[in-house]
Symmetry: C2
Subunit: 527 residues, 2 copies
């Protein structure tokens, strides 16, 4: 079922000459499929189809879009074992993770299906006319959200299902009414093609216009760059490194018509550990954090890469215990030789900095492509002075900063870059006594966590996944949860439009029975 | 009361050496005040104060922010005659317009006051915990909107009150909890200083932190550029030319930490006139459009600069009648010698294009700085081939394109750049028969108008003012109406946070009695 070809709309196509393979990091061998990189002609075709599809798809009813989204979920489930096996062979991740991530992906698709079927997400707003208002009559104005147009989604290395081909970005864009062109992630091109085939099957079954979806193979940066620069593309979704995300952001900003790029990028997810908590619960915390740091071989964007504590015997005890706990954990496989290569390089760079000490590092030999989890420690002053230590080491690595006092801890927080999350481990009275820490951290993050771990991103309306730069390129949006649909839509107003020709969401009779703001009152009533 | 100095927070300051004056275009003389351009030291001071003020102001209750906004409105009204006279002397606009625009400004301030006093605008969302969920417990998550931080607002040449110092951008930013630094528009620096003094008075009366507002004088691009590049600035609002807006957008995108720029820029506001309507109502339309094209000497961003019709006797009749009507209107003064200079230059450039014909132009001598309103005509094919003709001529100018048929008209719409508005003049059956025109136009605009004129931007929740580039730099936001607050805010989530330490908007008891999304149900109930 894996052909190695691109989907240009509904058509399998392989006009390019460059090919590449994926890699099984567990077995340390190449997988047996060859993928044909999309040719520039195919990029144009995919965008051309998406532009045309955009008209019908953009105006499609929520019910029909919901059918499409649910059908994608069904077709992904129908891929069954083949998908799970391919996923594992291309990522080195265990089957349980594959099944879990498939569940998350299905859940996201169905959540967006429910959202658009219900329909109130368009934020319909109606202000009725006042013809006899002086000095000028008030016109009738009605506003709702409409899709931006074709969206490019870049597959994420670390979420082959939930943030790639039919992942959160794609599901949100489809829900919005935007055709999607996926730039497949080269590390899991087979998984990508399987999911793409499920989307195409679903599109055909539910009579979606050809071009509502395309899947382009690419192992370099050319295909992605060409897509972002293409005048037919209206927005971009990306999950990955700061370097990659920023490059796309720059390309998009330099276009004749700049377009929005939502890039969810790096984060060290600082964890502040206050003195009372560490002295009361240091042992439990050490166990919990050893688990969080190594979860998924540290390959989560919410991995806790930076722990900030105040020097004390209790903190020293915590570091000792964390070190003991973390080396008890079996080393695990990283996604790809390139990923483990980057991990080793970045870790070595960190370890070579003056003043950094290794508290724990797996010493024994590990399998090829398996990561040695590592905990380091550093003095607050040294950390403040050396921003190299602030950088993310993507993998099972964390640095514990031993601050002199609360003032230094706050100073460090103020000098951090933007982050996805910030965690405070504290007794409640400590949290209350140090609200300035909360304020300082709040300025830097998209999500604040109390007495927990940043890993584990709940998919629900109240989740914010995205924070000040460089955590993401636009902190005003989230990449997770139903509100992520807002990245792909814009409001449009209709002034004095005939009722019968308005979109259903704005008609007097409220045929969709959605919640609307009518003359400043939220209601499901008709006019 | 006009000192010519900058407000650096609450302090009048004039450390710079460069000075400039404003101009009375009606009398064709310089006004008698000298304004001191902000020095780079003052820029740093203003941003430093704004950063500090940001902490307290960002967390301030809606009630207190409402007091501040209402106090600004009161203090602006208290400026009385002095403000109106200064406004007129710096713009050449009549007193009626000044009073009307002041009313709009006051109305906007009070509307934002009401919005934040009520409080539901923060989009509070609560998902309660499910501790016994398997395989993992569901945490408690709560989300709301918080301010981005210090915002720079650029005063608009054509709206000295409603889109400048205390205009829509400033009011929205204050409502959001963002300190504001205004880069005063040099053409109406006196009006700007008066309004700034009103804001400072209001800030003092309502105990706002020093630095919540600064007003910087500047006649060139240096002060604005320095502000946009300053690391302490977190967002930018601009109303003006495409060149100016794009330059700021580029600066912001090139920063180490890119920041959002909402620039509301140029638009020719296409008006499609369908055959039946023009044959039935050509005479009325001609009168109406002669008025709309010349309203405010054509200096509105929603000025109808492009009329698209299908060749017919009725259209020819409409053009004749529009020409007759428009030259009946008394020529009026433009804002500044530079503005009339740009109008003449751009008009001459348009008139020099092959195939363009002048249908009407005031021939008699007019007062210095008064604009000669002009209507031109061109064949559809010529217009399609020459994009110079698509460009805005800011002033009382409009071009009537005579299309061969509906297909050509649609082709022209598809080739237009993004616009603030698009209008369709049609009988209802024509609008219904040509829904593809609506779709084509909808792709290009932020607001669709039926049987009306684009001038007159109603301030209400259902107004969208902002469209695809280059109408604005981010079509996902509006510059007018309460939803314009969304430009200056970002969501933040709190996970498992102690109830007593949550912001009031997210507490179980709902002390603010706002509407919240609680476990997917919109409600004002407490938990």
């Amino acid at each position: 079922m894996i052909t190695g070809k691109n989907y240009i709309g509904n058509t399998l196509s392989s006009k390019g000459s460059k090919t590449y393979t994926t890699y099984n990091p567990q077995l340390n061998i190449e997988n047996g499929f060859s993928f044909v990189e999309a040719a520039s002609e195919e990029i144009d075709e995919a965008v051309g189809l998406a532009r045309t599809a955009s008209i019908g798809f953009g105006a499609m009813s929520g019910v029909k879009k919901a059918d499409f989204l649910n059908a994608i979920a069904d077709e992904i489930l129908a891929l069954d074992e083949l998908l799970i096996k391919t996923y594992c062979s291309e990522t080195g991740l265990p089957e349980g993770r594959a099944i879990g991530e498939r569940g998350r992906t299905i859940g996201q698709l169905r959540a967006f299906a429910a959202l658009v079927k219900e329909g109130s997400w368009v934020e319909a707003s109606i202000d009725t006319a006042i013809p006899d208002r002086t000095p000028v009559p008030k016109p009738d104005l009605r506003k709702m959200l409409i899709p931006l147009g074709p969206v490019v989604v870049f597959g994420a290395s670390n979420f082959p299902l939930a943030y790639s081909t039919a992942g959160g970005d794609t599901a949100a864009a489809f829900a919005a009414g935007c055709p999607v062109i996926v730039k497949s992630h080269p590390m899991h091109a087979g998984t990508g093609e399987l999911v793409a085939s499920a989307i195409i099957k679903a599109a055909k079954k539910t009579n979606m216009p050809n071009g509502v979806f395309s899947n382009l193979n690419s192992s370099g940066i050319e295909v992605g760059s060409a897509l972002v620069k293409h005048p037919g593309i209206k927005a971009v979704g990306f999950t990955g490194s700061i370097g990659g995300g920023r490059a796309l952001f720059n390309l998009a900003a330099q276009r004749e018509e700049p377009i929005p790029v939502f890039a969810e990028m790096g984060s060290v997810n600082p964890v502040v550990i206050l003195p009372e908590a560490v002295s009361k619960r240091g042992e439990d915390l050490a166990k919990t954090y050893a688990g969080s740091i190594t979860l998924g071989t540290g390959q989560f964007c919410t991995n806790p890469g930076l722990l900030l504590g105040i020097k004390s015997d209790a903190l020293t005890g915590f570091i000792t215990r964390l070190s003991e706990e973390i080396i008890k954990i079996e080393p695990s496989c990283m996604l790809h030789p390139n990923i483990i290569g980057a991990y080793e390089t970045k870790k070595e760079k960190a370890l070579s900095q003056n003043g950094l000490q290794v508290a724990a590092e797996i010493q024994q030999n590990v399998q090829t492509n398996y990561a040695r989890q590592t905990v380091t420690t550093v003095e607050g002053k040294t950390f403040l002075q050396n921003t190299t230590l602030h950088q993310e080491v993507f993998g099972p690595y964390s640095i514990v900063v031993q601050c002199e006092d609360i003032a230094q801890l706050k100073e460090i927080i103020k000098n951090l870059e933007g982050q996805l999350t910030g965690t405070i481990i504290a007794e409640e009275n400590e949290l209350e006594a140090h609200q300035d820490i909360t304020i300082a951290l709040q300025n830097k993050v998209g999500r604040l966590i109390y007495n927990g771990v940043p890993t584990g991103v709940e998919v629900c309306p109240s989740m914010q996944h995205g924070g000040p730069y460089p955590a993401s390129t636009d902190s005003r949006f989230t990449a997770v949860g139903i509100h992520s649909i807002k990245r792909w839509v814009r409001p449009i107003s209709y002034q004095d439009w005939p009722d019968s020709l308005l979109p259903d969401a704005l008609k007097n009779s409220n045929p969709l029975k959605i919640s609307r703001l009518v003359n400043n009152e939220q209601t499901k009533n008709s006019l």
